[in-house]
Symmetry: C2
Subunit: 286 residues, 2 copies
């Protein structure tokens, strides 16, 4: 099977993919849209991309691309601990406190904001396209005393020395990765998992009357269908117009779920079932 993932090599997504898909062909893509388009065009059989981080919230480009641009489905969820480390070229192992620049993906920089604010105030923070791209750059430029923030796999892959571990501001930092396919089906991975849940994308009626969202929640509430997440995203038709991503703690094929979805549609909502799938917890990297 060909598994597309958000690269480059040694990204957090790469680690998640390697943890559950053993002996498959891994194909890295430079951006989330590239990865999703490859699946839509059947150049890969699965696409794995980040959907939500416990600190930063949803990954907007993933959510928006799944809503606006492609017709794909979540078939499994992978939850991976995210541990950010400060790493330098081995040549600078003893002078890392004097680095002139720190590079990483903007989300990783944000996740370590307090650490950087108190320990490296005034040092230039440079956004890169990914944490592993930052590690790769540091590895290729031993002449500069600079640091990258990233994961243990990236330090290993690019031969960097981790000089401070776990510099992210909040513990409990996890990222939800989703495995996507072109069909609405549930992936059976040979790992422990929780009960199946369903992700819906709901657009309110276009007259957008006050209280419509309250009505939507009522359809779940009176059936005692628990929502583990509700989030709004812009419809891109103007400020103040949103669609909602709703996670319900039930598989989609139950009679209560089917009843709720039919009722929402009767109220004038548009409902897309993004997936009905199981959650897998991954172990930390080493």
């Amino acid at each position: 099977m060909r598994i597309g993932y958000l690269g480059p090599e040694a990204s957090f997504t790469h680690y998640a993919v390697k943890s559950v898909f053993i002996n498959e062909e891994y194909i890295a893509f430079p951006t989330i849209p590239d990865c999703l388009e490859a699946l839509a065009e059947k150049k890969v059989d699965r696409a794995v991309v980040p959907l939500e981080n416990a600190l930063e919230g949803s990954v907007p480009i993933t959510v928006d691309y799944l809503f606006h641009d492609v017709d794909l489905h979540i078939t499994a969820e992978l939850i991976s601990p995210i541990e950010q480390h400060l790493m330098v070229h081995p040549d600078h192992e003893h002078e890392w406190q004097d680095v002139s620049r720190i590079m990483s993906h903007s989300h990783a920089l944000a996740q370590c904001h307090k650490y950087l604010y108190y320990r490296f105030r005034g040092v230039t923070l440079e956004p890169s396209t990914s944490t592993s791209a930052a590690a790769q750059y540091v590895s290729a430029h031993p002449e500069e005393n600079i640091a990258a923030i990233g994961n243990a796999l990236a330090a290993d892959t690019y031969g960097l020395t981790v000089v401070e571990e776990n510099i992210h501001d909040f513990h409990f930092n996890h990222t939800r990765f989703v495995v996507l396919t072109s069909e609405l089906e549930t992936e059976l991975l040979p790992f422990e998992h929780d009960a199946e849940k369903t992700t819906l994308m709901v657009t309110l009626p276009s007259d957008d009357r006050p209280g419509a969202l309250h009505q939507v929640l009522s359809a779940f509430s009176w059936r005692q269908l628990s929502l583990s997440k509700i989030e709004s995203r812009p419809l891109k038709t103007g400020l103040g117009n949103y669609f909602f991503i709703i996670d319900v703690e039930r598989p989609v094929d139950g009679i209560l779920m089917q009843g709720a979805i039919e009722e929402l549609e009767a109220l004038g909502c548009t409902v897309k079932v993004l997936g009905s799938y199981k959650k897998h917890m991954l172990l930390p990297q080493k």
Copy 2:
């Protein structure tokens, strides 16, 4: 009055600040936390930062910093049209279709994703700390055939030539900027505005029972208090724990609003009134 804003010079925020605060002292800050901290420490009298974009959604660092880190209040809202242009150094005006790199803030790159995908596929997209930093870099490197994406003010300020106008994928692109103070008060700017509205930050009871959000919405719904926005953000205590930002189309001091807030608190919710303020629409740049 000292007005702190998210810089650097010629940023979209700078344009918003210049539109409503005339003959005041403007002070640019390199990051949103720096700008908010300066207000908290009374080094400035107002802070102006972006809160939400019509395409990208909320600016996570603004929302999260206001919830977790500082006790500040929204005193006015500025809504500015966002128009992204492709610009190059005048030396490369006639060969811009062969640029080797395109630089901009990651949000601006995302806002022009389709344009870039179809017109410049394969060209390196390089994230910068702001659209104006990208323009400044292009201006300072005439030896490279590279482009920046940014606003008209940045092209003017850094002497670049706009080679394609309005390359953002969706029209109706606006950003909501907020004017913040340390006190809960309403700013009276001498400009046309809409009726006053209120922004609340609501945390559900810690037992987080199913249906709690439905109850919260009921408190507004049965009083016919219209919500123009509801959004969840991570509490940073683990995946699945959120707080909610709710915009209500009423000033905070009305009897119905006070009743709703008291009821939410009686239900065990924590409610922070982030502000009760008026909305000002700004004109497009030139």
